[in-house]
């Protein structure tokens, strides 16, 4: 687990280090207290629940590892796992790049840019139901806007949400479009890049692309890293989107693990199995995140070690 902490620690001996450490524990104490009070307990409880058969309606009964055995043998789990990894990889991959491009666009010192920024954030503010209804119509195979535009280009558009192959790409499109928070985080990050760096580079005759690649991206890398890590965590857990849009269909093509957990817990009266699924999901997320922190050493640039 400690590898998660990423970059190497600075070791300074003596009283200063002790004072720093004391300050660390003081400053970090709100979170530690909260973790003890509200966070850790429920998490530990969920681990215990995963060893029980519990409908929530009466007392749980201990069943050992039964739920995990069931999980290993459950074909639906593997379907959901595959869908979830596909959805997460596609939406994070596409999302990180496209939102960065949008953030760069929205960072230009143009007149009226404030209005544009607000407009691009609207999808993150508007009710999920309005958004869902809108997208169902945009993605309609016969008269939806996307297939209309594809038709103009001479391409016969797919069935999107009703097609087993295209339903996840459609959801990826939706989630990328609604990633206003990621844009905002990039925008905030862009403000922290010293202008002097660009000025120096311009004096050296560096073009737009080189300035982007050699200044913006490295300077922004801690923020990119944040968006990648949290984006993966969120999309590996996503379920509200599919609950509203597809209910896991067609033919389980959009059954994400998060939705499967929700159903086990609150539709099938099987909280024990839901908890076991969650811990499996946790293991997957931790593996993905560990890899990301490992890789981060190669490309994330921090001002402080």
């Amino acid at each position: 687990m400690s590898a998660l902490a990423g970059a190497a620690r600075r070791r300074r001996p003596g009283p200063l280090a002790r004072r720093e450490a004391r300050s660390f524990y003081l400053f970090v104490s709100p979170w530690v207290v909260g973790f003890v009070l509200f966070g850790g307990g429920p998490i530990a409880a969920s681990a215990v629940i995963s060893l029980t058969d519990w409908s929530l309606l009466s007392s749980p009964s201990f069943v050992g590892l039964d739920n995990y055995v069931k999980l290993v043998e459950d074909p639906v789990f593997y379907t959901a796992l595959g869908n979830t990894l596909y959805f997460a990889a596609a939406s994070v991959g596409l999302g990180v790049v496209s939102t960065l491009a949008l953030a760069l666009l929205l960072n230009l010192p143009l007149r009226g840019i404030a209005v544009f920024r607000t407009i691009f954030y609207l999808p993150s503010v508007v009710s999920g139901i309005a958004t869902a209804l809108l997208w169902v119509n945009i993605l309609h195979p016969d008269f939806g806007m996307i297939n209309y535009l594809l038709g103009l280009a001479g391409v016969q558009g797919p069935g999107w949400l009703t097609s087993e192959e295209w339903a996840i790409p459609a959801l990826v499109l939706m989630s990328v479009w609604g990633a206003g928070n990621t844009i905002v985080i990039y925008l905030a990050g862009l403000q922290g890049i010293p202008r002097s760096l660009y000025e120096a580079a311009m004096i050296d005759g560096a073009g737009w692309w080189r300035r982007l690649w050699h200044i913006t991206v490295p300077m922004l890398s801690p923020v990119v890293f944040f968006n990648v890590v949290t984006g993966f965590i969120a999309s590996l857990q996503a379920y509200v989107l599919v609950l509203v849009m597809t209910e896991g269909g067609p033919a389980n093509a959009t059954l994400l693990l998060g939705l499967y957990v929700y159903r086990q817990a609150f539709e099938y009266f099987d909280m024990g199995y839901a908890a076991a699924l969650s811990w499996a999901l946790f293991a997957i997320i931790i593996a993905v995140t560990l890899v990301q922190f490992r890789l981060a050493r190669r490309w994330v640039h921090y001002e402080v070690a």
Partner: protein, 467 residues
């Protein structure tokens, strides 16, 4: 660095907020019906208070099994949508006037989130005294001992008249010979038709003498147009949900599950014969909306005038009456080779076993589901489908009952049944196990007999927990 100006203001603000937080438990005060909306009388444009008061006074309310000696508070959880809620609040208010020692605290939760909320409350031992229950949840709750058996109360209650409840309605709340709740509504699925579309096609309206074959042939014939303007003969296909058996399969002698819900029979000849013409309707005639169409329409295709016929529950009538821009009516479900069948489903309320105010809860539950209560809540408001036979006339006589509504009551006392409606705890899993393959049959990726065999294979392991 002074450009970070509001630091002092921030500190002052935080202090003030801390003080606010200390008294931020505004949700703790119990609220009565009188207390809501700032002491105003519940009602509004849909349910004028004066009329409600008059109706309430004109009804004969059941005798009480004995009023609580001291003040008792009961919590009642239901799911009503915003528009109907005032009617429930009126009921609660009048109830409290009749029973001054009982205070009703109402909890209202959206239907879609109801189960999630109350499963959490169940885990925390904080269930309300009375709670709504969908017919499909009852067995899971009863199996875990959450609902209180009501037989003793029913025996003590003067004028309870158990036989007044329509036969399909009570079945969902009975288990091992005991009664675990009282239904408030129960309605059959019927054949609804759009008169305008039949007239435009120059075709005669459906009649109670129709067979399933006639219905499906008419659906194919009524289908016309293209793209966004297409009119479908039928609003939708059967789905592998709880009421599939009585609504679609029994007429051909087929069943989804056996009577004990421990074996899947959907690939047997009866079920296959019942389903084949429906999938033909989709694949050969495109006479039902495609999955994409169904998804994009926010309401049932029938309700928005895009389908000439639809198989819908009686509870669809109120919203049709409110929004349909065409003339419509309903008629009996058509008959099949094995006779005429339809499903009848409904919901009810139960008293929770942990309730500390059981007597008061019974008084409330009994009044709500009494003839008078059902007239007040469902008969007079156009929501219809009351679970008591004696409450039906109030609905049928009102202006709000649609054409053909009289057939509903006849169906309920005749061919409508709860036989084959899935209601054992594995129900939701059965539906989830069957749906993916069903989707594939609909999209033509797998043939019908083969698909149904696969569904049987997928559903069978799930049924183990019903044994």
């Amino acid at each position: 660095m002074d450009a970070f100006p509001s630091r002092r203001a921030v500190l002052a603000g935080l202090g003030a907020l801390g003080a606010l937080a200390a008294c931020g438990d505004g949700g703790r005060t119990p609220l009565t019906a009188e207390g809501r909306s700032g002491g105003g009388e519940p009602g509004g444009a849909l349910f004028p208070f004066a009329e409600a008061e008059k109706l309430n006074a004109s009804l004969t309310w059941p005798a009480s099994i004995g009023e609580p000696a001291s003040k008792v508070t009961i919590t009642v959880a239901s799911h009503w949508e915003a528009a109907f809620l005032p009617r429930q609040e009126q009921f609660d208010l009048f109830f409290m006037r009749r029973h001054p020692t009982i205070e009703v605290r109402r909890e209202v939760t959206p239907f879609a989130q109801f189960l999630q909320k109350y499963l959490a409350q169940a885990a925390g031992g904080s269930l309300p005294d009375i709670m709504y229950s969908h017919y499909s949840w009852v067995s899971a709750f009863v199996k875990q001992g959450v609902f209180l058996p009501l037989d003793d109360y029913a025996a003590r209650q003067a004028g309870f008249a158990r036989e007044d409840f329509t036969a399909p309605s009570l079945g969902y709340f009975e288990r091992d010979g005991k009664l675990y709740g009282l239904p408030y509504d129960c309605g059959p699925k019927m054949l609804f038709y759009n008169k305008d579309l039949f007239d435009a096609a120059g075709m005669a309206y459906p009649t109670p003498s129709w067979t399933v074959e006639q219905m499906l042939a008419a659906a194919a014939e009524l289908t016309r147009g293209k793209g966004g303007g297409r009119v479908f003969g039928m609003a939708g296909l059967p789905a592998p949900v709880a009421d599939l058996t009585p609504t679609y399969l029994l007429a051909y002698g087929g069943r989804y599950l056996d009577a004990t819900e421990t074996a899947c029979l959907i690939d047997q000849p009866g079920a296959v014969n019942a389903l084949r013409p429906w999938f033909d309707l989709l694949h050969r005639y495109q006479a039902v909306p495609s999955a994409a169409d169904a998804e994009a329409m926010k309401a049932e295709p029938f309700g928005i005038g895009r389908a000439a016929m639809g198989v819908h529950g009686s509870w669809t009538a109120p919203s049709l009456a409110a929004t349909a821009k065409f003339r419509w009516a309903m008629t009996d479900m058509p008959s099949g080779p094995e006779g005429r069948f339809t499903s009848a489903v409904g919901s009810g309320f139960a008293i929770t076993a942990g309730s500390g105010a059981r007597d008061a809860a019974w008084i409330y539950l009994n009044e709500l589901t009494s003839s008078a209560g059902q007239i007040f809540m469902w008969g007079s408001t156009g929501r219809g489908s009351p679970s008591r036979t004696s409450a039906w006339p109030s609905y049928l006589r009102s202006d709000l009952a649609p054409e053909g509504a009289g057939l509903l009551e006849k169906a309920l006392t005749g061919y409508a049944t709860n036989d084959g409606v899935i209601r054992q705890p594995a129900g939701p899993k059965v539906v989830s196990a069957a749906t993916p393959t069903w989707d594939r049959i609909a999209s033509g990726r797998i043939g019908l007999p083969e698909g149904l065999r696969k569904i049987r294979a997928d559903v069978t392991p799930v049924l183990a927990e019903n044994r």
